[in-house]
Symmetry: C2
């Protein structure tokens, strides 16, 4: 957590967030009012946050990683814009270390060239669009970070994405899988495009697939920037 994020939480008198994230920071919450709800209720949670701010409270909405990357920043702003213009509270977005930043650092330096970030969750995005994007990413030889690669109900998408990638990327292309980046249970696995779906992947995993120059050495996944060394 950055000092700016800590300061925003300290300054707020109402804290809103998914229960799991609230627990991670409960030591610094002291006497603040906490609005925590279970997962999949993010719209309700953010509506409560906006309403509290409209009522004059100083509200901090907690988002893990970077709130601007598949986090709560956009939903909060969308809900604020639904308010009458005169009622809209001021919103400050505080950037953070997203799973893509944290996982890359754990794996070595896999993102050192142009890359794409793609979520495989089809709850809010048509699966056909996700597949099309995967195809274009592979054609462009981008490094790619896959968010939400798999869940209990959604197990086949990662296989389909692997097949799309294999149309353009070599089977030996390095793949890194990071579980629960920056949490106590953090773990990383190195594999390749041919085999990586045999590894454990779940909703707490981020998958990074390299470009045609990416290599693995001494357990580091490295994408060269292009320097002549």
């Amino acid at each position: 957590m950055t000092p700016k994020a800590l300061a925003a939480i300290t300054d707020a008198n109402v804290i809103v967030g998914y229960n799991t994230y609230i627990k991670l920071i409960e030591k610094i919450l002291a006497e603040k009012k906490v609005i925590g709800t279970a997962m999949m209720q993010e719209i309700e949670r953010c509506k409560l946050a906006v309403q509290a701010a409209v009522n004059g409270e100083n509200v901090a909405v907690i988002s893990s990683g970077d709130s601007g990357i598949y986090g709560m920043a956009g939903l909060i702003l969308e809900l604020v814009m639904q308010q009458e213009k005169s009622l809209r509270p001021e919103v400050k977005i505080i950037p953070g270390i997203s799973a893509v930043n944290a996982s890359a650092a754990i794996l070595g330096a896999p993102l050192m060239h142009d890359f794409a970030v793609l979520s495989l969750s089809d709850l809010l995005t048509p699966w056909e669009l996700i597949k099309k994007r995967a195809e274009l990413i592979a054609q462009g030889d981008f490094v790619v970070a896959l968010y939400n690669p798999k869940s209990i109900k959604r197990v086949n998408q990662i296989q389909e994405i692997r097949e799309i990638m294999l149309k353009y990327k070599a089977p030996t292309t390095p793949v890194g899988i990071v579980h629960s980046a920056t949490r106590e249970e953090e773990a990383a696995i190195l594999s390749d495009l041919e085999h990586f779906t045999q590894e454990h992947i779940d909703m707490f995993s981020l998958v990074i697939i390299g470009n045609s120059k990416t290599y693995i050495e001494d357990q580091y996944m490295i994408t060269p920037r292009g320097y002549q060394l």
Copy 2:
């Protein structure tokens, strides 16, 4: 700067970095040995860092933003791997807030859906590959963050990228330009794909071009995640 980055600098006895970045943190450097060099000498600087680590020093290499995104992490690892296996020092990469994270937060929530990160610098990458990637990004309706959009010597590339994007994206697509994100001289401009190249853009700028759903309201650039609100 995160507490982890601060701790790494505090623990190190040798600090290596571009002079401008060294100046930003000189207050915490105390009595440490500092190896600072001018810009464009990053290979020499990183070689000195690796040599100091091989000699047994605890070295911190300073990279602005996130060292894993167009930063020094990859170059350091590449140089370490050139050492004989028995001599290679341990390397820890500490993730940071990259210009893409910081600039998105300043603009609002422009990255809330799938996005790509593309550098327009053709010093280390063929211009033809950069153009191809821009074309694929536009076809996939990705939000895109453009690093190194322009420099004193390189002024036409951003115009070419604009023309490629206009083949697939509407002229009214929102574009945000952030200068010197997180520095004192930080500034943001909102424009659109038709007009943004008329704004001031230089080597300290990051340009974010939205997708087909991105909109601007109350000076916030917002890409909807897809929620039904």
